[in-house]
Symmetry: D2
Subunit: 345 residues, 4 copies
């Protein structure tokens, strides 16, 4: 790039394992190219040589390139990094980025709506045993008018509902839960109780969430503080037939105790994320009653893929105009080091 | 009753096939008894002799007793009839009741919330194939991260949604659909377009509903005007993968054409009500793909049973105070003769 | 009309003191004429001769013609009467209309939105003394930054608000009050507490409304049961500086005690309706502090006049199709005889 | 402070022209003292000696002390600065604060709710001429039933409404405007159109706002980019009788052209903020018709003063726990240098 004389911003791609054509459609590609010179690359992680070549001139990186301090020192023009994988990895010096006014952003918010809709769908399936009743009709052993198989069907209407974790996904779920009309409890140690009250929800301890709510939605990222924390002690506090929806990160629950509680009939569990993925062939969950089981498919639906490109271009437009990004999630330097969610393979 | 000298209203029960202890809990029984003298009876339809005995003194009937004109002429004190089965049967002279200021009411509104929640659950199950993915994990043939089985998953967010029929159930469903943020189309020939606009929905023809909506919720009662009306001509107009939720009355659809459309992959169908119930053992629907199948279980869940007693007592309190009933559905003399929904057996 | 051979419905006008050209614009006139043969008349009450002439053939009356039983007996084809003045007058035999299936309707609902917006505007003016501060700037004696004149300014945000009466106007006001986020208390003896709870408001006694609410909106019609009922005993229960908005009917308050309470500084009163109108020249209210005063102008704004014609035509369309009216207010035969609101002159 | 051995955070006050007892009540004082050692001071700006004495040990400053780079270099422990005056002044090196991870915050959000409620009250007063009608009744020259003085009264219901600027105040106003049901246009050059659409409003140019909206709420901070920008060219685009509410900063309008437009009857103007305050005695606005006039009193009402203390303590709790602040407004280093709103005297 020594010979680069263009005054236009340089935008470098390193999105692996995502593919550019999945993230960007023709419109967002066009918008991106109108903003600067784009170095397109995907299919494999960019090589060190590739990265080093563009580093001194790059304004924006779209991808998960490692950015230790020494690289940041050479990236004098870098203003923004877009993680398009959705987990903030430890391969970036976030503090140094903050110091240099470099925004490190993630397109994770695109997953909020599909996960929220799936989570509500899972809760309703569990509350009404929709999936089991469907299987029964197919097998020819249904009961009519819910005689029998409706004996433990419950309404969400009017019941307390709880969110453990109220980030992107929780905030997308909240409006879907409001019209059911019950109190909404939220446990999120990273949000001040006053801020929760301002959102018109009830700040609650984990104990209160499990004791009071008909459905507990586990929506928290895995952190150093909550790994494996949700286990039997909490499930035992639930009302019989209470529902646990696990749709963000498996790391926050004691998975065996979750299955024990479902197996015993104490709770119903709707599970989309797993300690090990793919799900091992003989995993006991496959035979556990009182569950709704999905193979980590809540967020990754085709229609939201091009939203990632939109978020990137929207925020790049803002940053190039000297404004703060507004669409992507920001890596908060205060808390990013505590995140422990596993990246996708 | 010739000897009856009590000035208290007489309340007669004839709720078969419902049971009093299902409809009334201790609180609503107590409230009822504070309002008048109650002739408890259930387990079988009241005999003619039983009915005739109390007819001259009765103020309120809770049940489905036949009330032809000649009986109404003898029921000089009758003010209100509570149908607790939920379909307005042709065994009552509704015009004569109207003339005499006798309210004929149904506790059907108690089913609105459970049917609305189930309908949303069915739509989400169909949109995300939750029930199929659950079955896949149990069978050990799931795909991870939605690779493959998410290829036609859709969001409800932002998409037009349609209600065909906007009575009790439709009105209970509306608030649950609002936060998805899309336009809501309503086709209901019995509601004025201006009244629909006032409800903040878009009045629409059936054609518009099927052409534009991602999900069409069929929520209409069967009437002389709509029996078998919804068939191939409409399903062919849907976008590929569009969802039809049939959760009120099977009579309004051409059921075979509905299954054809699902089988061809043109639409997805979520079905709770059937032309013949119980569902015949070899019914083709049991093998039809792109469906979610339930055996008429959307409304009849235990927690709403005692609500029927509450509605009866609430409205009886009003009627005895000289006010119009507000909680039950009223038999509209203008339209009741057009209803053709089948009663439960 | 003996010679009338048209099979089309006959629609007779008798709207005095309203004028047709105020109620109907070219579009609603056209719609009306497409529904039947219209006998246009206004400017003065229709003469008995005029009415008697058309009575045997008339299907719909738009106006306030007297309809005693003997006239109804001759009006064999009459299906609907539209009161366009907005108060149900005692010149109709409502019971006989009910018996004959004749709907007696009022276009009063058109006033709900303007009265609701004005009521909120009055509450905010009282809460923040907007009108007084405006007068102060004009007089050159304002205080800056609210120093002094903001000492008793209050927020509606988060505070309990009360509605006394929850008919058309109350229901139009409710959604405007919701986003302020406080509890909403409703006192309405004609609505069952269960129905109020279903509307997501708190049923309350009059005492509770005045004790707890920051603003009490008096929205009730005058009835035989509530005339002059709201007086000192209630105002004394209010928190100091509490606001009373009187925007429906003056008859329900003891007007002098309302002014006493404002004068003493105990409450603030926003008044749009008066015991005698026009307001007597020397009326003490004109000098009473802690008031916002309007001369019965909340409802009668030009843009809603043609809505009356729309309501008439919408409901006439429904009635002619054999459906129940949905847009106008119905005279409830149970309660209409208790109404005592004064007609406009 | 050389001798200070306490491991507790040091919190320094320099809130002039605000007073501690106005901002903090006994509860927030207690909470503050539980968080660290507090150096109470108010009544005058803290002296340089006072500031310098505590600077090396201070963790949090509550006030508007000057913080140039050289002071920041000595404030090794400083984590957060709370501006309690509400305008970000140029006496802080914001870039250096950012680099050092020092949050510079303002308690300005406490004013959002009172300004929002006042703004709605002003719009309703202008739309219905509430203040003028009140003055007319007092003067004895009112017209009854709105005859005459309602000729240009308008409903907000269903009409497009526009916000110019959508920061704290705009966001507090939005929910109050939603139930009126009309489209909401927003012009805010610092918010991405995609972010506005996500808030369920319509991004709009200034031209579109003034051409289409019945009420334009001017809610923007004064910046280098918008000073004096809103003038005749925009007012001329409004529908006759359109309403302009100026309740944030006077600097963004050409004030004389605003008054010209009101005087001509083209628009109605509701004005709370002024180019020069106090308002000059002979200011022409005092005699300008079609206006509602307030002397900068929208935000500063007593009940929100202690909220400032709450915001300070809430965010200090978060910062001391290693989390990002959530309750106060943050000085965005990208844009803070463009702000030109005048501080209070």
């Amino acid at each position: 790039m020594e010979t680069r004389s263009s005054p236009r911003p340089l935008i470098m791609f390193d999105p692996h394992p995502r593919r550019i054509d999945v993230l960007f459609n023709s419109e967002t590609k066009r918008r991106l190219e109108s903003l600067g010179d784009v170095i397109w690359h995907d299919g494999a992680p960019a090589s060190d040589a590739h990265i080093e070549r563009y580093l001194p001139e790059v304004t924006a990186i779209v991808g998960q390139s490692a950015l230790p301090r020494e690289r940041l020192e050479r990236a004098k023009k870098l203003k923004v990094v877009f993680n398009v994988e959705s987990n903030f990895l430890p391969n970036i010096d976030y503090i140094e980025c903050h110091r240099r006014g470099i925004h490190v952003l993630s397109t994770a918010p695109v997953f909020a709506k599909p996960v929220a809709e799936m989570s509500l769908g899972l809760a309703l399936s569990a509350a009404r045993r929709i999936h089991q009743a469907d299987a029964a009709v197919r097998a020819g052993n249904e009961t009519l008018y819910g005689e029998g198989d409706n004996h433990d069907s419950i309404l969400l209407h009017g019941r307390p509902l709880a969110l453990v974790g109220c980030g992107n996904v929780g905030r997308a779920l909240l409006p879907l839960l409001r019209p059911f009309g019950g109190e909404i409890l939220v446990n999120d140690p990273w949000i001040h109780p006053s801020a929760l009250r301002e959102m018109n929800v009830t700040p609650a301890t984990l104990d209160e969430c499990f004791e009071r709510a008909a459905v507990v939605f586990l929506m928290a990222a895995t952190t150093t503080e909550n790994m494996g924390k949700i286990g039997r002690a909490y499930f035992d506090k639930m009302q019989k037939g209470g529902i646990v929806v696990l749709a963000s990160r498996a790391g926050i629950v004691n998975f065996d105790e979750l299955l024990d509680a479902a197996e015993s009939g104490r709770i119903r569990a709707a599970i989309d994320v797993w300690p090990d993925e793919p799900i091992p062939a003989g995993h006991r969950a496959r035979r556990t009653p009182n569950t709704v089981l999905q193979a980590h498919r809540a967020g990754n639906i085709p229609e939201i893929w091009p939203w990632m490109g939109q978020l990137v271009v929207d925020d790049l437009e803002l940053v190039l105009r000297g404004l703060a990004p507004q669409r992507c999630q920001r890596a908060q330097w205060e808390t990013v080091s505590k995140l422990r969610s596993k990246p996708i393979e």
